[in-house]
Protein backbone atom coordinates (compact mmCIF):
# COMPACT_ATOMS: atom_id res chain seq x y z
CA UNK A 1 0.00 0.00 0.00
CA UNK A 2 2.81 2.38 0.81
CA UNK A 3 4.16 2.68 -2.73
CA UNK A 4 0.68 3.42 -3.97
CA UNK A 5 0.21 5.87 -1.13
CA UNK A 6 3.51 7.53 -1.97
CA UNK A 7 2.53 8.01 -5.61
CA UNK A 8 -0.96 9.20 -4.86
CA UNK A 9 0.18 11.63 -2.18
CA UNK A 10 2.53 13.18 -4.69
CA UNK A 11 -0.20 13.49 -7.29
CA UNK A 12 -2.74 14.79 -4.79
CA UNK A 13 -0.24 17.40 -3.65
CA UNK A 14 -0.17 18.78 -7.19
CA UNK A 15 -3.81 19.79 -6.81
CA UNK A 16 -2.71 22.77 -4.78
CA UNK A 17 -2.72 25.99 -6.73
CA UNK A 18 0.70 27.60 -6.59
CA UNK A 19 0.63 31.20 -5.41
CA UNK A 20 3.32 33.72 -4.62
CA UNK A 21 3.27 34.27 -0.86
CA UNK A 22 6.26 36.62 -0.74
CA UNK A 23 4.20 39.80 -0.33
CA UNK A 24 1.90 38.26 2.25
CA UNK A 25 4.83 36.96 4.27
CA UNK A 26 6.52 40.36 4.10
CA UNK A 27 3.38 42.17 5.30
CA UNK A 28 2.77 39.51 7.96
CA UNK A 29 6.31 39.86 9.28
CA UNK A 30 5.99 43.64 9.53
CA UNK A 31 2.65 43.34 11.27
CA UNK A 32 3.98 40.75 13.72
CA UNK A 33 6.89 43.05 14.55
CA UNK A 34 4.50 45.96 15.15
CA UNK A 35 2.34 43.78 17.39
CA UNK A 36 5.32 42.71 19.47
CA UNK A 37 6.28 46.34 19.96
CA UNK A 38 2.75 47.39 20.80
CA UNK A 39 2.17 44.50 23.16
CA UNK A 40 4.25 45.93 25.99
CA UNK A 41 2.49 49.28 25.78
CA UNK A 42 -0.91 47.63 25.57
CA UNK A 43 -0.23 45.64 28.71
CA UNK A 44 0.26 48.83 30.71
CA UNK A 45 -2.89 50.42 29.29
CA UNK A 46 -4.86 47.26 29.94
CA UNK A 47 -4.15 47.40 33.66
CA UNK A 48 -5.42 50.98 33.85
CA UNK A 49 -8.43 50.26 31.67
CA UNK A 50 -9.50 47.08 33.39
CA UNK A 51 -11.36 48.87 36.14
CA UNK A 52 -13.30 50.94 33.60
CA UNK A 53 -14.17 47.84 31.59
CA UNK A 54 -15.94 46.01 34.38
CA UNK A 55 -19.02 48.18 34.04
CA UNK A 56 -19.38 47.33 30.35
CA UNK A 57 -18.68 43.66 30.71
CA UNK A 58 -21.84 42.83 32.72
CA UNK A 59 -24.27 41.54 31.57
CA UNK A 60 -23.36 40.63 28.02
CA UNK A 61 -25.75 40.01 25.17
CA UNK A 62 -24.33 38.62 21.93
CA UNK A 63 -27.40 39.30 19.86
CA UNK A 64 -26.98 41.28 16.70
CA UNK A 65 -29.51 43.87 15.53
CA UNK A 66 -31.70 42.57 12.68
CA UNK A 67 -30.04 42.85 9.32
CA UNK A 68 -31.61 44.09 6.11
CA UNK A 69 -33.81 41.19 5.01
CA UNK A 70 -33.51 42.01 1.32
CA UNK A 71 -31.02 39.69 -0.33
CA UNK A 72 -27.97 41.32 -1.85
CA UNK A 73 -27.21 38.43 -4.15
CA UNK A 74 -27.03 39.66 -7.72
CA UNK A 75 -26.45 36.58 -9.81
CA UNK A 76 -25.73 32.99 -9.01
CA UNK A 77 -24.87 30.92 -12.06
CA UNK A 78 -26.00 27.33 -11.67
CA UNK A 79 -23.26 24.72 -11.31
CA UNK A 80 -22.45 23.13 -14.63
CA UNK A 81 -20.73 19.80 -14.98
CA UNK A 82 -17.55 19.86 -16.98
CA UNK A 83 -14.65 17.63 -17.77
CA UNK A 84 -11.91 17.50 -15.16
CA UNK A 85 -8.24 17.46 -15.89
CA UNK A 86 -6.12 14.97 -14.05
CA UNK A 87 -2.64 16.30 -13.47
CA UNK A 88 0.05 14.43 -15.26
CA UNK A 89 3.74 14.70 -14.58
CA UNK A 90 5.94 15.48 -17.54
CA UNK A 91 7.71 12.70 -19.43
CA UNK A 92 11.41 12.16 -18.68
CA UNK A 93 13.72 14.72 -20.26
CA UNK A 94 15.65 14.00 -23.45
CA UNK A 95 19.13 12.71 -22.63
CA UNK A 96 20.63 12.96 -26.12
CA UNK A 97 22.81 15.96 -25.25
CA UNK A 98 24.08 14.55 -21.94
CA UNK A 99 27.65 15.40 -21.08
CA UNK A 100 27.94 18.16 -23.67
CA UNK A 101 28.97 21.65 -22.58
CA UNK A 102 26.23 24.01 -23.75
CA UNK A 103 25.51 27.68 -23.48
CA UNK A 104 21.84 28.44 -22.86
CA UNK A 105 21.08 32.08 -23.67
CA UNK A 106 19.30 34.14 -21.05
CA UNK A 107 15.56 34.68 -21.16
CA UNK A 108 15.15 38.44 -21.74
CA UNK A 109 13.57 40.14 -18.76
CA UNK A 110 13.64 37.04 -16.56
CA UNK A 111 14.27 37.12 -12.84
CA UNK A 112 17.95 36.31 -12.40
CA UNK A 113 17.27 34.15 -9.36
CA UNK A 114 14.93 31.84 -11.20
CA UNK A 115 16.02 31.75 -14.80
CA UNK A 116 18.14 29.00 -16.33
CA UNK A 117 20.51 30.72 -18.76
CA UNK A 118 24.23 30.07 -18.54
CA UNK A 119 26.94 27.49 -19.14
CA UNK A 120 25.59 24.05 -18.40
CA UNK A 121 26.25 20.34 -18.85
CA UNK A 122 23.19 18.10 -18.90
CA UNK A 123 23.05 14.86 -16.92
CA UNK A 124 20.03 12.67 -17.33
CA UNK A 125 18.56 15.39 -19.54
CA UNK A 126 18.58 18.03 -16.84
CA UNK A 127 20.89 20.43 -15.06
CA UNK A 128 20.61 21.65 -11.49
CA UNK A 129 22.19 25.03 -10.90
CA UNK A 130 24.63 24.88 -7.98
CA UNK A 131 24.05 28.47 -6.90
CA UNK A 132 20.30 28.14 -6.66
CA UNK A 133 19.06 24.80 -5.44
CA UNK A 134 15.67 25.70 -6.83
CA UNK A 135 16.73 26.27 -10.43
CA UNK A 136 16.63 23.40 -12.84
CA UNK A 137 16.87 23.19 -16.63
CA UNK A 138 15.35 20.31 -18.60
CA UNK A 139 15.95 19.34 -22.20
CA UNK A 140 12.50 18.53 -23.56
CA UNK A 141 13.67 17.52 -27.04
CA UNK A 142 16.68 17.82 -29.33
CA UNK A 143 16.40 17.42 -33.10
CA UNK A 144 19.58 17.10 -35.20
CA UNK A 145 19.43 18.72 -38.65
CA UNK A 146 22.07 18.99 -41.29
CA UNK A 147 25.50 17.51 -40.70
CA UNK A 148 26.46 19.70 -37.74
CA UNK A 149 23.37 21.29 -36.27
CA UNK A 150 20.91 20.46 -33.53
CA UNK A 151 17.83 22.35 -32.36
CA UNK A 152 17.05 22.01 -28.66
CA UNK A 153 13.84 22.77 -26.76
CA UNK A 154 14.55 23.66 -23.11
CA UNK A 155 12.23 24.05 -20.15
CA UNK A 156 13.05 25.94 -16.96
CA UNK A 157 10.13 24.65 -14.86
CA UNK A 158 10.56 26.80 -11.77
CA UNK A 159 11.02 30.13 -13.55
CA UNK A 160 8.25 32.69 -13.79
CA UNK A 161 5.29 31.68 -15.94
CA UNK A 162 5.96 32.83 -19.48
CA UNK A 163 9.73 32.60 -19.11
CA UNK A 164 10.13 28.85 -18.99
CA UNK A 165 10.73 27.67 -22.55
CA UNK A 166 13.07 28.38 -25.40
CA UNK A 167 14.38 26.75 -28.55
CA UNK A 168 18.08 27.18 -29.30
CA UNK A 169 19.88 26.14 -32.45
CA UNK A 170 23.46 24.87 -31.96
CA UNK A 171 26.29 24.21 -34.40
CA UNK A 172 28.72 21.45 -33.60
CA UNK A 173 32.43 21.89 -34.20
CA UNK A 174 34.37 18.78 -33.23
CA UNK A 175 33.27 18.11 -29.66
CA UNK A 176 32.00 21.58 -28.87
CA UNK A 177 28.62 23.15 -29.48
CA UNK A 178 28.19 26.83 -30.05
CA UNK A 179 24.96 28.80 -30.16
CA UNK A 180 23.88 29.46 -33.72
CA UNK A 181 20.86 31.46 -32.59
CA UNK A 182 17.81 31.64 -30.36
CA UNK A 183 14.94 30.32 -32.43
CA UNK A 184 12.15 31.26 -30.04
CA UNK A 185 12.04 32.45 -26.43
CA UNK A 186 8.82 32.36 -24.40
CA UNK A 187 7.48 35.59 -22.95
CA UNK A 188 4.50 36.43 -20.73
CA UNK A 189 1.42 37.31 -22.74
CA UNK A 190 2.78 35.87 -26.00
CA UNK A 191 4.11 32.41 -26.66
CA UNK A 192 4.28 31.24 -23.06
CA UNK A 193 4.78 27.52 -23.62
CA UNK A 194 6.45 25.20 -26.12
CA UNK A 195 5.60 21.54 -26.35
CA UNK A 196 7.26 19.99 -29.36
CA UNK A 197 9.92 20.61 -31.95
CA UNK A 198 10.48 19.47 -35.50
CA UNK A 199 12.72 20.33 -38.44
CA UNK A 200 11.64 20.40 -42.09
CA UNK A 201 14.28 21.52 -44.57
CA UNK A 202 15.56 24.90 -43.47
CA UNK A 203 12.62 25.46 -41.14
CA UNK A 204 12.55 24.76 -37.44
CA UNK A 205 8.96 24.19 -36.36
CA UNK A 206 7.79 24.67 -32.81
CA UNK A 207 4.49 23.65 -31.27
CA UNK A 208 3.60 26.61 -29.08
CA UNK A 209 0.92 27.45 -26.52
CA UNK A 210 -0.47 30.60 -24.97
CA UNK A 211 -0.44 29.48 -21.33
CA UNK A 212 2.25 28.20 -18.99
CA UNK A 213 0.87 28.99 -15.57
CA UNK A 214 1.44 25.56 -14.09
CA UNK A 215 4.56 23.73 -13.01
CA UNK A 216 4.26 20.95 -15.57
CA UNK A 217 4.39 21.21 -19.33
CA UNK A 218 1.64 18.61 -19.53
CA UNK A 219 -0.79 20.84 -17.70
CA UNK A 220 0.23 23.85 -19.76
CA UNK A 221 -0.38 21.74 -22.84
CA UNK A 222 -3.82 20.71 -21.64
CA UNK A 223 -5.04 24.26 -21.11
CA UNK A 224 -3.22 26.10 -23.90
CA UNK A 225 -4.34 27.02 -27.37
CA UNK A 226 -1.92 25.02 -29.55
CA UNK A 227 -0.26 26.10 -32.79
CA UNK A 228 2.68 25.09 -34.94
CA UNK A 229 4.88 27.98 -36.01
CA UNK A 230 7.88 27.83 -38.36
CA UNK A 231 11.16 29.74 -38.05
CA UNK A 232 14.17 30.11 -40.35
CA UNK A 233 17.57 31.78 -40.32
CA UNK A 234 17.61 35.03 -42.29
CA UNK A 235 21.36 35.51 -42.19
CA UNK A 236 21.39 37.39 -38.91
CA UNK A 237 18.68 35.90 -36.71
CA UNK A 238 15.81 33.42 -36.64
CA UNK A 239 12.47 34.90 -37.76
CA UNK A 240 9.02 33.45 -38.13
CA UNK A 241 8.28 32.25 -41.67
CA UNK A 242 5.13 30.25 -41.19
CA UNK A 243 2.10 29.56 -39.00
CA UNK A 244 -0.16 31.97 -37.14
CA UNK A 245 1.30 34.93 -35.32
CA UNK A 246 -1.43 35.40 -32.71
CA UNK A 247 -3.55 33.15 -30.52
CA UNK A 248 -7.32 32.80 -30.63
CA UNK A 249 -9.06 33.54 -27.29
CA UNK A 250 -8.49 30.70 -24.87
CA UNK A 251 -11.80 29.04 -23.97
CA UNK A 252 -10.35 27.76 -20.70
CA UNK A 253 -9.55 31.16 -19.33
CA UNK A 254 -11.47 32.85 -16.59
CA UNK A 255 -10.52 35.66 -14.25
CA UNK A 256 -11.81 35.66 -10.70
CA UNK A 257 -11.56 38.82 -8.69
CA UNK A 258 -12.78 40.03 -5.35
CA UNK A 259 -13.30 43.43 -3.77
CA UNK A 260 -14.44 44.32 -0.27
CA UNK A 261 -15.94 47.31 1.49
CA UNK A 262 -14.37 48.60 4.72
CA UNK A 263 -15.56 46.85 7.88
CA UNK A 264 -16.78 49.51 10.29
CA UNK A 265 -18.00 48.45 13.72
CA UNK A 266 -20.88 50.62 14.88
CA UNK A 267 -21.45 52.16 18.31
CA UNK A 268 -21.60 49.87 21.37
CA UNK A 269 -24.92 48.23 22.06
CA UNK A 270 -25.40 45.64 24.81
CA UNK A 271 -21.63 45.44 25.22
CA UNK A 272 -21.06 44.55 21.57
CA UNK A 273 -20.40 46.34 18.33
CA UNK A 274 -21.48 45.03 14.93
CA UNK A 275 -20.01 45.68 11.53
CA UNK A 276 -20.78 44.59 7.99
CA UNK A 277 -18.38 43.91 5.17
CA UNK A 278 -19.69 43.61 1.62
CA UNK A 279 -17.82 41.41 -0.83
CA UNK A 280 -18.09 41.63 -4.60
CA UNK A 281 -16.94 38.57 -6.53
CA UNK A 282 -16.54 38.65 -10.30
CA UNK A 283 -15.48 36.53 -13.20
CA UNK A 284 -14.17 39.00 -15.75
CA UNK A 285 -12.81 36.31 -18.06
CA UNK A 286 -14.32 34.70 -21.13
CA UNK A 287 -14.88 31.20 -19.76
CA UNK A 288 -16.84 29.50 -17.01
CA UNK A 289 -14.83 29.54 -13.80
CA UNK A 290 -13.92 26.51 -11.74
CA UNK A 291 -15.87 25.91 -8.50
CA UNK A 292 -14.60 28.55 -6.10
CA UNK A 293 -14.59 29.44 -2.44
CA UNK A 294 -14.50 32.87 -0.90
CA UNK A 295 -12.56 33.13 2.34
CA UNK A 296 -12.68 36.06 4.73
CA UNK A 297 -10.14 36.54 7.48
CA UNK A 298 -10.81 39.09 10.21
CA UNK A 299 -8.97 37.91 13.29
CA UNK A 300 -10.03 35.76 16.20
CA UNK A 301 -11.68 38.50 18.24
CA UNK A 302 -14.87 38.64 16.21
CA UNK A 303 -17.93 36.47 16.46
CA UNK A 304 -19.50 35.68 13.11
CA UNK A 305 -23.27 35.53 12.86
CA UNK A 306 -24.16 33.48 9.82
CA UNK A 307 -27.91 34.02 10.18
CA UNK A 308 -27.48 37.71 9.64
CA UNK A 309 -25.48 37.38 6.46
CA UNK A 310 -26.29 36.86 2.83
CA UNK A 311 -26.96 33.25 1.98
CA UNK A 312 -23.95 31.39 0.69
CA UNK A 313 -24.73 30.53 -2.94
CA UNK A 314 -22.92 27.20 -3.07
CA UNK A 315 -23.67 25.87 0.42
CA UNK A 316 -23.32 27.47 3.81
CA UNK A 317 -20.79 29.60 5.65
CA UNK A 318 -18.30 27.63 7.69
CA UNK A 319 -15.31 28.46 9.82
CA UNK A 320 -12.41 26.15 8.99
CA UNK A 321 -10.04 27.93 11.36
CA UNK A 322 -10.29 30.65 14.02
CA UNK A 323 -10.97 34.04 12.47
CA UNK A 324 -11.66 32.61 9.02
CA UNK A 325 -15.06 32.35 7.33
CA UNK A 326 -15.54 30.33 4.17
CA UNK A 327 -18.34 30.09 1.61
CA UNK A 328 -18.46 27.98 -1.54
CA UNK A 329 -19.77 30.13 -4.37
CA UNK A 330 -20.03 27.54 -7.11
CA UNK A 331 -18.96 28.34 -10.65
CA UNK A 332 -19.17 31.90 -11.89
CA UNK A 333 -20.13 32.31 -15.52
CA UNK A 334 -18.16 34.68 -17.72
CA UNK A 335 -19.06 38.21 -16.70
CA UNK A 336 -21.05 37.10 -13.63
CA UNK A 337 -20.79 38.82 -10.28
CA UNK A 338 -21.98 38.01 -6.78
CA UNK A 339 -22.37 40.33 -3.83
CA UNK A 340 -22.23 38.92 -0.31
CA UNK A 341 -22.57 40.64 3.05
CA UNK A 342 -21.23 39.37 6.34
CA UNK A 343 -22.06 40.70 9.77
CA UNK A 344 -19.49 40.43 12.54
CA UNK A 345 -19.73 41.25 16.20
CA UNK A 346 -16.99 42.23 18.59
CA UNK A 347 -17.10 42.67 22.34
CA UNK A 348 -16.50 46.17 23.65
CA UNK A 349 -14.23 44.93 26.41
CA UNK A 350 -10.72 46.22 26.41
CA UNK A 351 -9.35 42.72 26.04
CA UNK A 352 -11.27 42.32 22.78
CA UNK A 353 -10.58 45.77 21.38
CA UNK A 354 -6.90 45.67 22.21
CA UNK A 355 -6.50 42.76 19.80
CA UNK A 356 -8.48 44.47 17.05
CA UNK A 357 -6.48 44.39 13.87
CA UNK A 358 -6.64 47.28 11.44
CA UNK A 359 -7.00 45.13 8.37
CA UNK A 360 -8.86 42.04 7.19
CA UNK A 361 -8.51 40.11 3.98
CA UNK A 362 -10.65 38.23 1.52
CA UNK A 363 -9.64 35.83 -1.21
CA UNK A 364 -11.38 33.82 -3.86
CA UNK A 365 -9.94 30.66 -5.33
CA UNK A 366 -10.68 27.22 -6.64
CA UNK A 367 -12.26 25.10 -3.97
CA UNK A 368 -9.81 22.22 -4.27
CA UNK A 369 -11.88 20.24 -6.74
CA UNK A 370 -9.89 18.80 -9.62
CA UNK A 371 -9.01 21.57 -12.02
CA UNK A 372 -11.40 22.23 -14.88
CA UNK A 373 -9.90 25.31 -16.48
CA UNK A 374 -6.65 27.17 -16.57
CA UNK A 375 -7.92 30.01 -14.42
CA UNK A 376 -6.19 33.31 -14.12
CA UNK A 377 -2.89 33.89 -15.79
CA UNK A 378 -2.23 36.28 -12.94
CA UNK A 379 -4.10 36.13 -9.66
CA UNK A 380 -3.42 39.60 -8.36
CA UNK A 381 -7.12 40.41 -8.10
CA UNK A 382 -8.05 37.26 -6.26
CA UNK A 383 -7.19 38.76 -2.93
CA UNK A 384 -8.19 42.06 -1.40
CA UNK A 385 -7.79 43.70 1.96
CA UNK A 386 -10.22 45.92 3.80
CA UNK A 387 -9.79 48.27 6.71
CA UNK A 388 -11.32 47.50 10.09
CA UNK A 389 -12.32 50.50 12.18
CA UNK A 390 -14.55 51.48 15.07
CA UNK A 391 -17.21 54.11 14.42
Amino acid sequence: MTELLRDNLRLLSEDVQQVDLADRVRVGSRRAARRRTAFAAAAVIAIVGMAMTVAFALPTSWRVPPADPSPSLITVPPPTPAGAYVFATDPPPDTSLDGVALTVPAWPGADADQTCGGEIVLHGGSYNFPTGAYRQLRLVKAVPHGPRSVAALFQCPLAEPGRRFQVVDYERDAATYRVHGQVLVSRPGGVEAMFDLDVAGAEIRVEVGDWAGSLTANEASHFSVHQWRAYAWNGGAFTQVGGPTTFAPNPNEYALSVAASPLVFGPPRNATRTGTVTLTLRNTGSGLAAPADVTVSVGTYTAFVAAQSTACPGGSWASPAPGIQRCPVGRLAAGASIELSLVFTVATTLSALSTLDDEGSVSIGEDGSPRIGLGDTGNANRRATFTITLA
Partner: protein, 179 residues
Protein backbone atom coordinates in the same frame (compact mmCIF):
# COMPACT_ATOMS: atom_id res chain seq x y z
CA UNK B 1 15.81 45.97 2.75
CA UNK B 2 19.07 44.35 3.81
CA UNK B 3 20.86 41.31 2.39
CA UNK B 4 19.25 39.06 4.99
CA UNK B 5 15.78 40.16 3.90
CA UNK B 6 16.67 39.67 0.27
CA UNK B 7 17.95 36.21 1.07
CA UNK B 8 14.77 35.43 3.00
CA UNK B 9 12.63 36.73 0.10
CA UNK B 10 14.47 34.42 -2.27
CA UNK B 11 14.02 31.53 0.13
CA UNK B 12 10.27 32.22 0.36
CA UNK B 13 9.90 32.41 -3.38
CA UNK B 14 11.74 29.20 -4.08
CA UNK B 15 10.41 27.10 -1.23
CA UNK B 16 6.77 28.15 -1.37
CA UNK B 17 5.75 25.62 -4.07
CA UNK B 18 7.11 22.66 -2.13
CA UNK B 19 5.79 23.94 1.19
CA UNK B 20 2.34 24.50 -0.30
CA UNK B 21 2.21 20.91 -1.52
CA UNK B 22 2.96 19.55 1.95
CA UNK B 23 0.56 22.03 3.54
CA UNK B 24 -2.18 21.01 1.13
CA UNK B 25 -1.78 17.38 2.16
CA UNK B 26 -1.88 18.40 5.81
CA UNK B 27 -4.96 20.61 5.52
CA UNK B 28 -6.77 19.32 2.43
CA UNK B 29 -7.64 22.91 1.63
CA UNK B 30 -6.10 25.54 -0.64
CA UNK B 31 -6.69 28.53 1.62
CA UNK B 32 -5.67 26.80 4.82
CA UNK B 33 -2.54 25.55 3.07
CA UNK B 34 -1.69 29.12 2.06
CA UNK B 35 -2.37 30.38 5.58
CA UNK B 36 -0.31 27.59 7.11
CA UNK B 37 2.70 28.26 4.91
CA UNK B 38 2.38 32.00 5.41
CA UNK B 39 2.23 31.62 9.19
CA UNK B 40 5.24 29.31 9.24
CA UNK B 41 7.26 31.65 7.04
CA UNK B 42 6.39 34.73 9.10
CA UNK B 43 7.63 32.93 12.20
CA UNK B 44 10.72 31.78 10.36
CA UNK B 45 11.49 35.36 9.39
CA UNK B 46 11.79 36.30 13.06
CA UNK B 47 14.66 33.89 13.56
CA UNK B 48 16.12 34.00 10.06
CA UNK B 49 19.44 35.53 11.11
CA UNK B 50 19.94 32.64 13.53
CA UNK B 51 18.96 29.74 11.27
CA UNK B 52 19.69 30.75 7.68
CA UNK B 53 23.11 29.16 7.65
CA UNK B 54 21.82 25.98 9.20
CA UNK B 55 18.74 24.17 8.01
CA UNK B 56 15.88 26.66 7.58
CA UNK B 57 13.76 24.00 5.87
CA UNK B 58 13.72 21.91 9.00
CA UNK B 59 12.68 24.91 11.06
CA UNK B 60 9.89 26.08 8.78
CA UNK B 61 8.51 22.57 8.45
CA UNK B 62 8.61 22.06 12.19
CA UNK B 63 6.61 25.25 12.68
CA UNK B 64 4.20 24.21 9.97
CA UNK B 65 3.47 20.77 11.40
CA UNK B 66 3.08 22.06 14.95
CA UNK B 67 0.91 24.97 13.80
CA UNK B 68 -1.39 22.60 11.96
CA UNK B 69 -1.87 20.52 15.10
CA UNK B 70 -2.46 23.66 17.17
CA UNK B 71 -5.11 24.92 14.72
CA UNK B 72 -6.85 21.58 14.79
CA UNK B 73 -6.98 21.62 18.60
CA UNK B 74 -8.49 25.10 18.67
CA UNK B 75 -10.96 24.30 15.91
CA UNK B 76 -12.06 21.06 17.53
CA UNK B 77 -13.35 22.92 20.56
CA UNK B 78 -15.82 25.06 18.68
CA UNK B 79 -16.49 23.75 15.24
CA UNK B 80 -17.43 20.70 13.29
CA UNK B 81 -14.68 19.27 11.10
CA UNK B 82 -14.58 20.55 7.57
CA UNK B 83 -16.07 18.18 5.05
CA UNK B 84 -15.37 19.38 1.56
CA UNK B 85 -15.46 16.44 -0.75
CA UNK B 86 -16.38 17.46 -4.27
CA UNK B 87 -19.09 15.76 -6.28
CA UNK B 88 -17.85 13.41 -8.95
CA UNK B 89 -20.88 13.10 -11.20
CA UNK B 90 -20.45 14.34 -14.71
CA UNK B 91 -16.66 14.57 -14.76
CA UNK B 92 -14.68 13.01 -17.53
CA UNK B 93 -14.55 9.44 -18.79
CA UNK B 94 -14.18 6.21 -16.80
CA UNK B 95 -10.40 6.44 -16.35
CA UNK B 96 -10.59 10.06 -15.34
CA UNK B 97 -13.48 9.40 -12.97
CA UNK B 98 -11.56 6.52 -11.38
CA UNK B 99 -8.49 8.68 -10.93
CA UNK B 100 -10.53 11.47 -9.40
CA UNK B 101 -12.31 8.99 -7.20
CA UNK B 102 -9.00 7.77 -5.79
CA UNK B 103 -7.87 11.32 -5.16
CA UNK B 104 -11.09 12.24 -3.45
CA UNK B 105 -10.88 9.08 -1.34
CA UNK B 106 -7.31 9.82 -0.39
CA UNK B 107 -8.07 13.42 0.44
CA UNK B 108 -11.13 12.44 2.45
CA UNK B 109 -9.18 9.73 4.26
CA UNK B 110 -6.37 12.12 5.13
CA UNK B 111 -8.85 14.60 6.55
CA UNK B 112 -10.28 11.92 8.80
CA UNK B 113 -6.92 11.12 10.38
CA UNK B 114 -5.69 13.00 13.40
CA UNK B 115 -3.30 15.83 12.49
CA UNK B 116 -0.39 13.90 13.93
CA UNK B 117 -1.22 10.77 11.95
CA UNK B 118 -1.56 12.88 8.83
CA UNK B 119 1.74 14.59 9.55
CA UNK B 120 3.47 11.25 10.00
CA UNK B 121 2.15 9.94 6.69
CA UNK B 122 3.09 13.11 4.82
CA UNK B 123 6.58 13.17 6.29
CA UNK B 124 7.23 9.47 5.78
CA UNK B 125 5.60 8.87 2.40
CA UNK B 126 5.46 12.26 0.69
CA UNK B 127 8.66 13.86 1.93
CA UNK B 128 10.45 10.51 2.27
CA UNK B 129 11.77 11.31 5.74
CA UNK B 130 13.23 8.57 7.88
CA UNK B 131 11.55 7.62 11.13
CA UNK B 132 14.29 9.43 13.02
CA UNK B 133 13.89 12.62 10.97
CA UNK B 134 10.11 12.44 11.33
CA UNK B 135 10.43 12.06 15.09
CA UNK B 136 12.82 15.00 15.22
CA UNK B 137 10.52 17.25 13.18
CA UNK B 138 7.43 16.39 15.20
CA UNK B 139 9.24 16.43 18.53
CA UNK B 140 8.17 12.89 19.45
CA UNK B 141 9.89 9.57 20.07
CA UNK B 142 10.74 7.24 17.18
CA UNK B 143 8.44 4.65 18.75
CA UNK B 144 5.59 7.14 18.52
CA UNK B 145 6.28 7.66 14.84
CA UNK B 146 6.15 3.90 14.28
CA UNK B 147 2.91 3.45 16.18
CA UNK B 148 1.27 6.52 14.61
CA UNK B 149 2.26 5.32 11.15
CA UNK B 150 0.77 1.89 11.76
CA UNK B 151 -2.42 3.40 13.13
CA UNK B 152 -2.69 5.86 10.26
CA UNK B 153 -2.26 3.16 7.62
CA UNK B 154 -4.77 0.92 9.37
CA UNK B 155 -7.24 3.78 9.60
CA UNK B 156 -6.80 4.56 5.93
CA UNK B 157 -7.48 0.95 5.00
CA UNK B 158 -10.63 1.19 7.07
CA UNK B 159 -11.78 4.51 5.57
CA UNK B 160 -10.73 3.95 1.97
CA UNK B 161 -10.57 0.21 1.27
CA UNK B 162 -10.30 0.87 -2.46
CA UNK B 163 -6.75 2.03 -1.83
CA UNK B 164 -5.95 -1.38 -0.38
CA UNK B 165 -7.67 -3.18 -3.23
CA UNK B 166 -5.73 -1.20 -5.75
CA UNK B 167 -2.49 -2.08 -4.06
CA UNK B 168 -3.36 -5.72 -4.65
CA UNK B 169 -3.83 -5.06 -8.34
CA UNK B 170 -0.61 -3.09 -8.39
CA UNK B 171 -1.96 -0.41 -10.67
CA UNK B 172 -3.35 2.97 -9.75
CA UNK B 173 -5.49 4.94 -12.17
CA UNK B 174 -3.44 7.93 -11.11
CA UNK B 175 -0.20 6.20 -11.90
CA UNK B 176 -1.49 4.23 -14.82
CA UNK B 177 -2.59 7.02 -17.07
CA UNK B 178 -5.93 8.75 -17.15
CA UNK B 179 -4.19 11.40 -19.16
Amino acid sequence: VGPADEEFDAYVRFRTPALLRSAYLLTGDQHLAEDLVQTALVRTHRVWSRIHQGNPDAYVRKVMYHQQIAWWRRRRLTEAPLENVPELAGWGGPDEAAAISIRVSLRGALLKLTPRQRAVLVLRYFEDRTEVETAELLGVAVGTVKSQTAKALARMREIAPELVELSGVGQSPLRGGAR
